[in-house]
Every structure is written in C-alpha cells, then in structure tokens.
C-alpha cells in the first residue's frame, strides 16, 4: 500500500447553502507525508479536515483516502483516521480514563492501550477526575490520546498545539509529531511552525486553493497573500 497516496482530492467542493466552504480543491498527499494547510479563519481549513475525517460529504469532486473513494467506502476508512480539533470530543462529566475506555471499546482497541497512552502524556494521576475539572492543556493531552488511541494511519490535526505549553508539546510529540510516521494534515495559525514540520503546503482563501507546493518552496509572498 506504500505506493498509493494516502489522500487524493480532485476538484473537491463543499457548500453551506449558498456560501462556498470549499471549491476546486485538488491535492495529493503521499503516505507518511505531512500536509500543512494555511489560511485565515473561515478560509475552509476546518471544513477540509471534516471532509477528510468523513464527517462531511463533499458536494462535488472526488475524495480518495487510503485508496478508498468517499463517501461510498467511508466505513472502510473510518477506523484508520484520527481527528484532533477544537472540540476535544470528550464527555465533560466523565473522567479522562472513562472517556478513553469508551472510545477504546468503540474502536475495538485493547483497554491496556489506554493506560499506556495516559502514562505517555503523564496524565495517569489525574485520569479519574471529571474532564470538566481539568485545565485546557490537560484536556488537550487527553484528546491527543483519544485521537491516536486506535493507531490511525492518517492523523488530522486542527491547531493541535493550541493550549499546549512547551512541556506538554514535547510529551505529545512522539504521538502526533513527525516521528510517529503517520500521514498527517495539520492546520495552524503560525505558518512558520507549520511549514517547518511539513513536506507539502496548501494555501486556502475563501474556500479556494491559492497555492499547493512542497513546503520548502513556499515564499513569504505566498503567505502574505493568504493573510492580506
């Protein structure tokens, strides 16, 4: 499977009523590579991630993840995707461990993996407190565990580093960073940081791609055009 690209988008569009959320989007991400998606708020970054996460169907164009065309074959891909976005997708009244156990059962993952991840992000001590009592940073660390619990082949990170202090960032690096070797799509408000850890870069403005280049070829002009 290494040769087929992990993510292929051709002419993808998504509308919200009359408003265009995404339009004419074509990009191919080889397996194991990292794509950085840059753009202002409302440029369509989150919509793109939700389409890739099979949570939103595309209204036009083709989306092929891990060789499976969406939305027809979405169920075959679902277990192999991890999404980490603004919403931690954790029940605030349940504890961190209960949340992760719930997700582990949903994905058919051995509960032992929950303990492993909790210690990896050093949350074992606070794992039994309700999530609503945890600080934003801790919630984000538990959310990282949730996103990688089922060892996804594609990881979708919507500003994953937000709310994480430098210390916490190092903790989650082996899980969500490049070393984990997963195909990743990351979005960030800090273009320099995103480009530093990306192989490919995609610029979005008002739902339309402005550039789609290897990360190294992205010039400050490209970036300025996005945020002007």
């Amino acid at each position: 499977m290494a040769d087929t690209p992990a993510i292929e988008l051709r002419g993808v569009a998504r509308y919200f009523g009359e408003r265009i959320a995404l339009r004419d989007l074509s990009v191919t991400v080889p397996a194991g590579a990292t794509l950085a998606v840059l753009g202002r708020n409302g440029a369509g970054k989150s919509t793109l991630l939700r389409v890739l996460a099979t949570l939103l169907r595309q209204h036009a164009g083709e989306v092929v993840l891990l060789g499976e065309p969406l939305p027809k074959r979405a169920f075959a891909v679902r277990g192999r995707l991890g999404l980490l976005a603004h919403e931690p997708l954790l029940y605030r009244d349940l504890s961190g461990r209960e949340n992760l156990r719930y997700h582990a059962r949903l994905h058919g993952v051995d509960p032992e993996r929950v303990e492993e991840l909790l210690s990896a992000v050093r949350m074992e001590r606070r794992a039994d407190e309700p999530v609503r009592l945890l600080s934003r940073g801790m919630v984000q660390r538990v959310a990282v565990c949730r996103a990688v619990l089922h060892d996804p082949e594609i990881l979708l990170l919507d500003e994953a580093r937000a709310n994480l202090d430098p210390g916490a960032s190092e903790l989650v690096e082996p899980l969500v960073g490049r070393p984990a070797g997963r195909t990743r799509v990351i979005t960030s408000h800090d273009p320099q940081a995103a480009l530093a850890e990306a192989d490919l870069a995609l610029g979005l403005r008002d739902g339309r791609p402005t550039f789609s280049l290897p990360a190294s070829e992205v010039t400050p002009a490209h970036v300025r055009e996005l945020y002007s």
Partner: protein, 223 residues
C-alpha cells in the same frame, strides 16, 4: 450489538454521574399527581379516570427524558466521536432507545407506587402484573418515538420546544391505547381482564415506528 451496549453503558454512566434526567422525571411526576389531586378535587380516583391521570403524567415526565436524550452528544461532540468510529450507525438509535426505555422503567418504579399511595382508590397490588405488561409496551412506544423526535429536535435551534411539540401528537395514539388498556385494570370491583384489542394496537404501533425509526435514523446523522 456490542457497539449499542458500549454507548448504552456510557449513557447510564453519564446519568449516574450527573443525575440530571431521572430525578427530574420522578419529581415531576409526583408533583403532577399533587396537581391532579387538587385539580380534580378528589381524594381517590379509579377506573378510566385513574388510568388517564397515570398515563398522562408518565407521558409528560417521559417528554422530559426525551428532551435530555441527545443534549450531551450535541454539546460535547458526542456525535462526532461516534461518527468517527467504524461502527454501524443505527446502533446509536438502539442504544439511546434502550437508555430512554430504562429511564422510563426507573421512572415508573417510583411513580406508580407513588400514584398508588397518593391517588389510586383500589389497592395496587393485585393489578400490578398486567399493569406492568401494558406499561412495558407503552414505554417501548415512547422510547422509539422519543428517540427519533429527540434526534430530530436536538440539531435545531429551538430544540426544547420542537421536541415536545412534535412528540406529543405522535404519542397520542400510544397514549389512547395505554389509557384504554389500563382503564379496566384500575376499576373498583377488582382487576378487570386485559383488553387484548388495545394491547394489539399498542404493539402494532411500537412495531411500525420501530421499523420506520430504523429506516430513517441514519439520515439524521449524515452530514
């Protein structure tokens, strides 16, 4: 099936932790009995009137549960978490309907004895078995319709209003069948026989709407 059980376990655990839904339903039903006492200005009631009071109270208390059913999913990303998992989507319908059914049963465990003590003239004891049969079928109907209506309403803006306004007319036939089935049971002369006709209608109602719910539920999650 396993997924449905997983989601159900989470729901029951969540209810245990927050105790939001069940106590509210129980207290609501007991205060409704008090209101009926003063409203009807009668110390004890029996027969069809008693059946009507009991059924109406349980229905409205049930609506409270219906309103709360998907709120956690809507506000804390529960839908996305579920949709991301490689599971059959109608297991969410099965899990939530079962959860609502269990809430209704728990409600009845509290409300029916309270009804017996507060309002019901004839003793409840001998009537209990057949009463349980009718209430079980009624709870099934409320659970199925309630889950469907709750899933429809939770995504809308006016969700606390749309849910009951849509659910009540849908539940009227179930209410008719339940009240008419319980009527003869609560007569003063002694537990009457279970009117088969009404049980049949109630069962037919549950079956049809279970099939309809199963067929259309996935479309509510698709986006």
């Amino acid at each position: 099936m396993k997924t449905a059980f997983t989601v159900l376990r989470k729901d029951l655990l969540l209810e245990l932790r927050t105790l939001e839904t069940l106590p509210a339903m129980a207290l609501f039903s007991i205060s409704t009995f008090v209101i009926f006492h003063f409203g009807l200005n009668q110390d004890t009631i029996h027969g069809q009137l008693a059946a009507g009071v009991l059924t109406a109270t349980l229905l409205f208390a049930g609506i409270l549960g219906v309103n709360r059913l998907f709120v956690a999913e809507r506000e804390q990303g529960g839908f996305d978490a579920f949709l991301l998992a490689p599971v059959d989507r109608s297991s969410l319908l099965l899990a939530k309907a079962t959860a609502l059914f269990l809430f209704l049963v728990a409600l009845e465990v509290i409300a029916v004895p309270a009804f017996g003590v507060l309002l019901l003239g004839p003793p409840l004891g001998p009537r209990l078995p057949s009463l349980i049969v009718v209430l079980a079928l009624a709870d099934l109907g409320i659970a199925v319709i309630g889950t469907l209506v709750s899933a429809l309403a939770v995504q809308t803006r006016a969700r606390d209003v749309i849910g009951p306004v849509m659910g009540l007319p849908l539940l009227i036939p179930a209410l008719i069948a339940t009240a008419r089935a319980i009527g003869p049971l609560l007569g003063t002369v002694g537990p009457g026989s279970l009117p088969g006709k009404w049980l049949l209608i109630l069962a037919l109602y549950d079956l049809v709407f279970a099939l309809v719910a199963y067929a259309v539920f996935d479309f509510l999650l698709e986006d």
